[in-house]
């Protein structure tokens, strides 16, 4: 039986205080809590990579033979995003890559498809990574409620920690939330219609049917991770379904992260798994043009999944930013450009040549003198031996800052641009930008880790590379 062998998640460091948004617009209705916001150099691809790296902690990369990327906010309308994620993770070249999109159910759809593929024997180990960075129009309720985040699950037949017992799906064609190919912001119909004709009418029977298929009732469920656009709606619906909202319903992270779209049901499932014990019965429920409800049970190996940042540790580390900074990051206000020439060149063949080393942060190690180096060289920087190298992974190595500065002249959307000479414990140096840092806390000798980020956007090409960050949590 297919199941979850590992889990991981990512929540961006930055948070907006909802009252700050409210204050900016002189809005009357007080809305409490925080929402997580991806930094200016993060998107659904980079967050999926971060969640997948968390999920793959201690796992054998080579096992993965399929990757499903799920998002309603893929940076590309046409072009596979799963290949970027796979490349950044350094997955085997024969890995099957697929994108799931278009729906808030994309995350759970990908999970279900992964379980089906493993059960059918067409795949052995599927990495599911779901991420969303949905935009609500400024001043609106969706901007208030939406948050950014990602989750990743590893689906296998052996070594599973959580068995997927079964599930039930229904579809309903209607427009409660949508975004056309012309829109930047998510649209919705009247809130009461969404609640009464949509969520309340679709979710409870689907949950009931899924439980019935597994010969269970709501009383058997330890924790249900149910997507909800807001916690009030979930509370009412949970009561209707016969759950004890306090004991059995997993916190949908509305107050701390916000509604993370298609990643939300998987993120709260990960939160539930962090507390799960062997034998616990769990549900993961998505909603959007219908509903998918999955029933699962934790096995003995659930305790073996450790050292994840997942949800808890990511929630513990945060930095509140002013609303104006968010507006600039998202390009929602036009600001004075930096007094530097914009980066206005990109070469697709050059990116292609760099497809393995650049994306996965793979350098070379000289077989003669043993020195790791990045970017790849033809002639060793130390012993000048030519073409005698093996591939060397920098992306998972420990590193510290040897030199740094905070550059106000660099053309950054979020100055100052922190530059750091980063030396790796096992050898090698790479010069990186440092992000998610407080400039006052940057010190020579501080430990850092690498993070996959978007570095430029030109000619409609999202160009990704790596930066360093303080050890997050």
């Amino acid at each position: 039986m297919a199941g979850i062998a590992s889990y991981g998640a990512y929540i961006p460091l930055y948070r907006l205080n909802r009252p700050d948004i409210q204050k900016a617009w002189d809005s009357m209705i007080p809305i409490p809590g925080e929402k997580a916001v991806a930094s200016y150099d993060e998107d659904s691809i980079t967050m999926a990579v971060a969640a997948a790296r968390d999920c793959l902690t201690g796992q054998d990369l080579k096992k993965v033979d399929r990757i499903y990327f799920a998002s309603t906010t893929s940076p590309y309308r046409e072009k596979l995003a799963a290949t970027v994620v796979a490349g950044a993770l350094g997955l085997n070249k024969e890995t099957q890559t697929m994108d799931f999109g278009g729906s808030l159910r994309a995350g759970v759809n990908a999970l279900r498809a992964a379980a089906d593929a493993v059960d059918a024997g067409s795949a052995n180990c599927v990495l599911v990574a779901a991420a969303d960075t949905r935009l609500g129009a400024p001043k609106g309720d969706k901007e208030m409620s939406f948050g950014d985040g990602a989750a990743a699950l590893l689906i296998t037949k052996s070594d599973t920690a959580v068995y997927i017992l079964g599930g039930h799906s229904v579809y309903q064609e209607f427009h409660d939330l949508w975004r056309s190919d012309q829109d930047r912001f998510v649209k919705s119909w009247e809130e009461r219609f969404v609640r009464e004709a949509g969520y309340n009418r679709i979710v409870p029977p689907t949950v009931a049917a899924a439980l019935q298929k597994c010969n269970m009732t709501t009383a058997d469920v330890t924790k249900a991770a149910i997507y909800a656009p807001d916690p009030r709606l979930l509370g009412v619906a949970a009561g209707k379904m016969g759950f004890d909202p306090m004991a059995q319903i997993q916190d949908p992270l509305y107050m701390t992260v916000g509604n993370t779209g298609c990643a939300q049901p998987l993120m709260i499932l990960v939160a539930a798994l962090e507390d799960a014990k062997a034998g616990d019965k769990l549900m993961c429920v998505s909603y959007g043009d219908g509903c998918d409800a999955l029933v699962m049970q934790a096995g003995d190996k659930i305790d073996g999944i450790k050292d994840r940042r997942a949800i808890k540790r990511h929630l513990e580390s945060k930095m509140i930013i002013p609303y104006t900074r968010y507006l600039i990051w998202r390009g929602l206000v036009e600001t004075e450009p930096p007094p530097r020439p914009p980066i206005n060149h990109i070469s697709v063949p050059a990116l292609w040549r760099d497809r393995d080393h650049g994306l996965a942060l793979h350098g070379l190690k000289c077989k003669n003198c043993g020195t790791p180096q990045y970017p790849p060289q033809r002639v060793c920087v130390i012993c000048q031996t030519q073409d005698n190298f093996e591939t060397y992974d920098f992306a998972h190595k420990k590193a510290t800052v040897t030199a740094f500065s905070h550059d106000n002249l660099a053309a950054s959307i979020d100055p100052p641009s922190t530059i750091a000479a980063v030396d790796f414990e096992e050898g090698g140096r790479i010069i990186f930008n440092m992000v998610d840092r407080n400039p006052d806390d940057v010190k020579t000798g501080m430990p850092v880790e690498v993070s996959f980020r978007k570095v430029h956007f030109f000619e409609s090409i999202h160009n990704y590379w790596w930066k360093c960050t303080p050890i997050r949590c």
């Binding site: 040897t402 106000n408 930008n433």
Partner: protein, 392 residues
């Protein structure tokens, strides 16, 4: 390092010219080239037609030999454009000297120029050259700031002490610049101003950074034995050295930013070529590549003017002031002139030439016999360095 051969005392400079440096909104690069070359021609008392071959040094303001032939209307002689980052002008001069030394020509011209203020931006134009764009956002001040933070920490200077040390470098150069009518920035600054200036790239503030300007400078060289036919006081070439770093600092974790190996190497080779044993004692004066105040401080150590980690003492004692033991940047340096890339090397040489001839007016150094110029093109982790020595 093999033994250095070189062309010591085989070549002489018989004429030099230098435009005023600054934000020349009303002058084109051709105007600047003509201005500098005209002065050099008049200084050498020759005619343009006497020049048999020419080298142009520019970073981004010209692409081939036509960049000189066109404005000067050189008549079908060989002209070559040389590009070697901030050492472009010095390398153009080196090529002209070697051409004469080879016996191929009797008289050659080297012109360095750059027109930067047409770009519309602060700082230098985009220097990134990796077409994949996979590199950190970095600027020259950002990269040289790494040198400052590591220097401070390695030698136990608090940020305040460190900033004061490099601040005094700028105070000295700005003062020298007030004495030079060709400098761009000619205002004296006080240490408090320097310390309180806006930060460009921590810890480098506005006054730790050189300006960006337009300018040109030119030199005419002949064989040493012919030099006295043109003027009684020619200045002789003692050493022409260039050292290029294979971007080691970018990859090697043992590079600590408090030194520039190419400077050390070019300096050692230049001292050997010129027969200099004790640079601190023998060099009369120097124009160093003070793109940033910290660069000048570290260069003083790399060129053995000060012991490693001890430049602070020499800065504080005034050793590098105009009346000190080894005046550095007597003309005001990049600090006062700004840095039109291709022009800077020959601008430095122009000052050493005038000083050797006793023509440096209020800036004149006593007993100016041997002058050194240094260009550092690139950034601490990856660079191309020239060290030239001329003298009597």
């Amino acid at each position: 390092m093999g033994s250095v051969k070189g062309i010591r005392d085989k070549i002489a400079i018989i004429g030099m010219g230098c435009s005023k440096f600054g934000e020349h909104w009303d002058k084109s690069k051709n105007d600047l080239i003509v201005e500098a070359t005209k002065e050099a021609i008049e200084d050498a008392k020759i005619e343009v037609k006497d020049i048999e071959a020419a080298w142009a040094g520019t970073w981004v303001s010209g692409f081939d030999g036509r960049c000189l032939a066109d404005p000067l209307k050189l008549q079908y002689i060989p002209v070559t454009r040389v590009e070697n980052a901030c050492a472009s002008g010095s390398d153009a001069f080196r090529n002209a000297c070697y051409a004469v030394a080879s016996g191929a020509y009797d008289m050659c011209l080297a012109v360095g120029f750059e027109k930067l203020k047409d770009s519309g931006y602060s700082g230098l134009p985009d220097q990134q050259s990796l077409p994949s764009n996979r590199y950190p956002d970095r600027t020259a001040p950002g990269m040289f700031a790494l040198m400052a933070t590591t220097y401070f920490s390695r030698y136990g200077l608090s940020p305040e002490e460190g900033k004061r040390m490099i601040g005094m470098v700028s105070v000295k150069s700005h003062y020298n610049g007030t004495l030079n009518p060709k400098a761009h920035l000619r205002r004296e600054v006080k240490i408090e101003q320097v310390l309180n200036a806006p930060i460009i790239a921590w810890p480098l503030g506005l006054f730790d950074c050189c300006g960006v300007s337009d300018g040109a400078a030119a030199a005419i060289v002949v064989r040493a034995e012919d030099a006295k036919n043109f003027r009684p006081d020619p200045v002789y070439v003692k050493a022409l050295q260039i050292s290029v770093c294979p971007s080691e600092g970018e990859l090697r974790a043992d590079y600590d930013f408090t030194t520039v190996k190419a400077t050390v190497r070019a300096g050692q080779m230049a001292y050997e070529e010129a027969g200099i044993k004790n640079p601190r004692e023998e060099i009369s004066m120097a124009e160093l590549h003070d793109c940033f105040s910290i660069t000048e401080a570290v260069t003083c150590e790399d060129l053995e003017f000060s012991p490693k980690g001890k430049v602070k003492e020499d800065i504080e004692s005034g050793f590098f002031n105009l009346d000190g033991g080894l005046p550095v940047q007597p003309d005001g340096g990049l600090k006062s002139f700004g840095h039109p890339i291709g022009a800077s090397g020959l601008r430095m040489l122009y000052e050493m030439y005038l000083q050797c001839q006793g023509r440096a007016d209020k800036r004149q150094i006593k007993d100016a016999r041997l002058g050194l110029t240094h260009n550092l093109g690139g950034i601490p982790i990856s660079n191309t360095v020239s060290v030239l020595i001329i003298g009597l």
